[in-house]
Each structure stands twice: as C-alpha cells, then as structure tokens.
C-alpha cells in the first residue's frame, strides 16, 4: 500500500490505508478472473481507435497569462508557476 501510494503521490490517512488495503484486495481478487482467460490468439493490446497523424503545424494557443491565472500561485510578470523551494531546502 505504501509503495503504491508513493508512486501515486497520494497521502492516505491511517484509516484510509486500512480500509483501502481490504477493499483493493477484494477488487483485485475479483479482477483475477481476467488472468484465467486464454488470450493466446490476441497478439498485442489493440489501439483504442484509428488515430490519425496531422501536420506538425503551430496553431494559436491560450495566452500565457490566462493559463497562469488558473494557478494557485504564479508570478505573472516573470511568467512562471510558483512552488516551494526544490533545491537546497
């Protein structure tokens, strides 16, 4: 549970950890019936749909300041998202 929560960057309460351990075990046990299926005739996971290629041509996008307005913390003048110190903290 801890390893998966770390991969997912999720903070779980002790109560959630206990409850989820039980529930996820039940869900994955239920999903185990998928393992029993003979899939030898299926080569590889199929593409979900016919994806098409497009020209790699630039098109107008949203203004940078509009994007920064959505952020919990940003420096509009510098044009940057703000986060706590990452290095040397």
């Amino acid at each position: 549970m801890e390893r998966i929560a770390t991969l997912a960057r999720l903070e779980l309460t002790p109560d959630e950890t206990a409850r989820f351990a039980q529930q996820l075990t039940a869900i994955l046990a239920y999903a185990d019936q998928v393992q029993q299926v003979d899939t030898s005739a299926v080569a590889a996971p199929p593409a979900p749909a016919d994806s098409r290629m497009r020209d790699d041509a630039p098109v107008p996008s949203l203004d940078r300041n509009v994007i920064l307005e959505q952020a919990p913390a940003a420096d509009q003048t510098a044009g940057l998202f703000k986060v706590p110190r990452v290095i040397g903290s």
């Binding site: 779980l12 899939t39 986060v83």
Partner: protein
C-alpha cells in the same frame, strides 16, 4: 399560455415567434428553483449567462436546430468563465479559460446552457454519491440514488427542469442513470463526439452523450454535438447523418440479438419483466428477436476496472496543486503534491491506487496488458454477433435504483451496477437506454440496445418504436 416542454416544440415555437427564448429560459429557471432544493441535480445555475444568451437569441433569431432550448451540462464539461468542478474539492474554484467542443457546438446550435450538473467526483461512480458536494436524489423515490456518474443530468431531465442535458460515459455513466431515472440516454460510438474540454477519466473509453425525455429530442441534441474535431485526434471523420430521420415506428427486417446466458445472473424479476415487455415492443414494430452469445461479456467489469483505472491514474496525475485546482501548503514541493492530492475523495483515491498498481513494474503485463487482450476478445464477440444481428438487447441495469448509502462502503457491489453497460465502452460501440416500464414499486427500468460502430440511427429508430408502445409516466 403554457410553454412547450420538448426541445423540438421549443425550437419550433421560438423560431415561429410564439414563444421567446427568454420566456423558455425563465420557465426552466423557475422549475429548477421549485424542485432542485430537494433533488440537488445542479451544482451551479448560470442564471445571468443563460438569460443573456436567450435575449441574444431572441434578437438574432438564427436558423438553428436547438434555437432557445435550455440544456444542462455535466460539471466535468469545461465552460469558459463558468465554474467547472467535476464534483471534486480539487477543482472547487476552477473556472476554465476555454469551452469544450460540445459547448461551442451547442452555442452554434442556438441552445442555452442553463447550468452545470452534479456528478460523482471525476465521473467515478455509479450513484452520484461520490460527489464532493453531496448526492443527487432520484425524482421517482427521493430516498434512492439516481445512478451515476451523470446523475445530475439525468435528474435535471427526468424532473422536467430542462428538456435536454449532456453527460459523459466511461463505463455506463449516461445509460445507467438514464435507466434508473426513466429517461433516454445515449453512449455514442467512440470518436463520434469530440472529447476536447471533457475532464479526462479513461481516455480510450470516455464519450460525451445526450439525455432527453423523447427519442426525437435525443436525436436532435446528438446531431448538434456529433462530428469531427481537429483538437481530438480520436474524433471520427464519418459524416453526421440526420438522426431524426426515419423515426416512423417500422422496424421490419431489423434483427435483435439477446445474450440469454447473461440474464440468469443477478437480474431482478421485475427488471426482467420490463425487459421482456421491451423486447415485445420491438417485435410488435417488426423486429425479429433471436438468441446470441457473448462469451467474454461477463469479464467486462473486471477488465473495465483494470483498464479505466490505469488510464485514470495517469490522467489524474495532472492534479498536483501547481498549475490549477487547489493547493495545500507544504514546506517542499513534495509536500505540496501529497497534501494537495489528499483532497481527492475516497473513491478517486481507491481508483488511482488500483490504476497505479496495475501499471507498476512487475504487474503491468499480468494485469494491464492482459486486460487489454481480453478487451479485444470482448470486441470480437460483438463483431461475431453483428454478423447475425443488427442490435444487441439487454436490461441496462440488473436492478432498479437502490437506496442512498446502500453500496457506498462496498465498492464491488457498486461496480456491479455497470455489469451490462461497460462492454460497449470497452468495445467502442454505440448504446442507448430507453425506458421500458416501471417496477410495481414505480421505479423505472431501462432497455439497452447496442449497435455496430456509427449505427446510432438504428438505436434511435428502435428506441422510438419502444417509447411509442411503452409510454412511461413522468416523474414530475
């Protein structure tokens, strides 16, 4: 004078000048004000925006297919300048800077977006109880769930607040609430409707689709939102036909397959009776009903929960408290990530955990790749069935609406309400739910029909034949 209630009548009246879009809009707003305190279908009613748009339409009177028709949108569909939460605390203050492709199309079609409807958080759920903003109630029995995740949209239509609404599907989130609320709901062919501006859950499964109280209204709304969009690379280039054509009640020559084996497990007798009545209605309209098999269909739910949650864990990685959404304070960037994401609700966390697990090193082949292979077998079953029949019929859900709180602590039980719907998403096929009767307790039951890719016209023609033979009373 009373105002028309169906989308097609409203459009005709506004176009002819016998009703104004503003009058129709005020009528919808007063219906919402009268009933929604009890039902909680809406998270946000955009009164000012809707009235302004209605007034604009009255001035310009464009020749448009949904002229003056009020439409409600599930709150995971982005609306520029109008708060869009996806039912999550993480997005409780999010105001998108752009609109979804379907919102642009509705605007061009002359519709009036009236507000945003409640849903399970990030569309993850089957009851609308996983909304961070409280549950929605079923208008047929207010102690029962409306289904989900698009429960708010289903209820807004079922309770007569609006004639039309949009929802989204990943594993049954339109058809299941449509069935449980006694309205029509369509999950389109994968790629038929642009996903641009839909807050992503399972990208290989997600589709936006319509709710309505009549097939004609459903088809009109679908025609307005369907079509190619360069901003969604998976949107299909197929031409969009007139979906309201040939709704004449004649199904001569149509072959409907019933996978009888699937009906033995867990279908309540009252649901079974209504389903049989639905089949009889199809036969009375000229369709031929025969038995078929879908050997891998019982695996749809486990495959769905592996594939959808894997995609969800990836899609929801973007909610990290940095670029949008709410941020929890922390001394380090690491703390900001963990604490901001702690604001997800329990169901979302469960699904992120499952998805992360099945994509993690050592489990990817055994779970994710294996599930994708079984998914291919599910699709092959349908391809084989469609060599002999044109449509596949099943009850939309095995039971009618259950009570609030009944399944929230048992995720597996909750998941099983999608047992008949998830296969269409996995196979990318179009499927409709049309009301086919009420149980003795007066709870609605839905008949589900699934068709070949892009054969939505057969779904509309069949649903129309059912609705004319099995009129279902209104919930309001």
């Amino acid at each position: 004078m009373s105002l028309p209630e169906t989308a097609c009548e409203i459009r005709a009246a506004v176009a002819a000048g016998t009703a104004s879009a503003v009058e129709v809009c005020r009528d919808a707003l007063s219906r919402i004000a009268r009933t929604d305190a009890r039902l909680h279908a809406f998270l946000h009613v955009d009164e000012a925006g809707a009235l302004a748009r209605a007034a604009e339409l009255d001035r310009e009177r464009p020749d448009a297919p949904l002229l003056g028709v009020p439409v409600a949108l599930k709150d995971n569909i982005c609306t520029a300048g109008v708060r869009t939460t996806a039912g999550s605390r993480v997005l409780e203050r999010y105001v998108p800077p752009y609109s979804a492709a379907v919102v642009e199309r509705l605007h061009r079609a002359g519709a009036v977006v009236i507000g945003k409807t409640n849903c399970d958080e990030f569309a993850m759920g089957s009851s609308t109880e996983h909304s961070a903003f409280g549950p929605t109630r079923n208008p047929w029995a207010e102690d029962r769930i409306p289904g989900g995740s698009s429960g708010g949209s289903a209820v807004a239509v079922a309770a007569g607040m609006v004639p039309l609404a949009l929802g989204s599907e990943t594993g049954g989130s339109i058809r299941q609430p449509a069935a449980l609320c006694g309205v029509l709901g369509l999950k389109p062919t994968y790629g038929r409707v642009s996903r641009y501006g839909l807050i992503a859950f399972g990208s290989s499964l997600d589709q936006i689709g319509p709710f309505a109280r009549s097939t004609r209204d459903l088809a009109a709304l679908f025609g307005a939102i369907a079509g190619a969009d360069p901003r969604d690379a998976t949107s299909a280039q197929e031409p969009v036909p007139d979906y309201t054509a040939r709704l004449d009640g004649d199904l001569s020559g149509l072959r409907v397959g019933v996978p009888r084996d699937l009906l033995s497990a867990g279908v309540e007798p009252d649901v079974r009776s209504a389903f049989d009545a639905g089949l009889s209605a199809l036969e009375a309209a000229g369709a031929v009903v025969r038995d078929i098999v879908l050997p891998h269909a019982p695996l749809a739910i486990p495959v769905y929960y592996l594939v959808a949650n894997a995609e969800a864990s990836s899609n929801l990685a973007r909610f990290d408290g940095v670029r949008y959404g709410t941020r929890a304070d922390g001394a380090s960037l690491h703390d900001v990530y963990y604490r901001s994401r702690a604001r997800f609700g329990a169901e979302v966390k469960r699904r992120i955990m499952i998805g992360t697990f099945v994509l993690s090193a050592g489990y990817y082949d055994a779970y994710y790749v294996k599930a994708q292979k079984v998914r291919a077998l599910i699709r092959q079953d349908y391809d084989a069935a469609f060599r002999d029949v044109d449509l596949v019929a099943l009850p939309t859900t095995p039971t009618p609406a259950f009570k609030l709180g009944e399944r929230t602590e048992d995720p597996l039980q909750m998941y099983l309400s999608d047992v008949f719907t998830a296969a269409a998403n996995l196979a990318g096929l179009p499927a409709i739910s049309v009301p086919c009767g009420l149980t003795p307790e007066r709870l609605p039951v839905g008949l589900q029909l699934t068709a070949r890719p892009f054969d939505e016209p057969s779904l509309f023609r069949s649903a129309h034949a059912v609705e004319t033979r099995i009129p279902v009373p209104r919930a309001y």
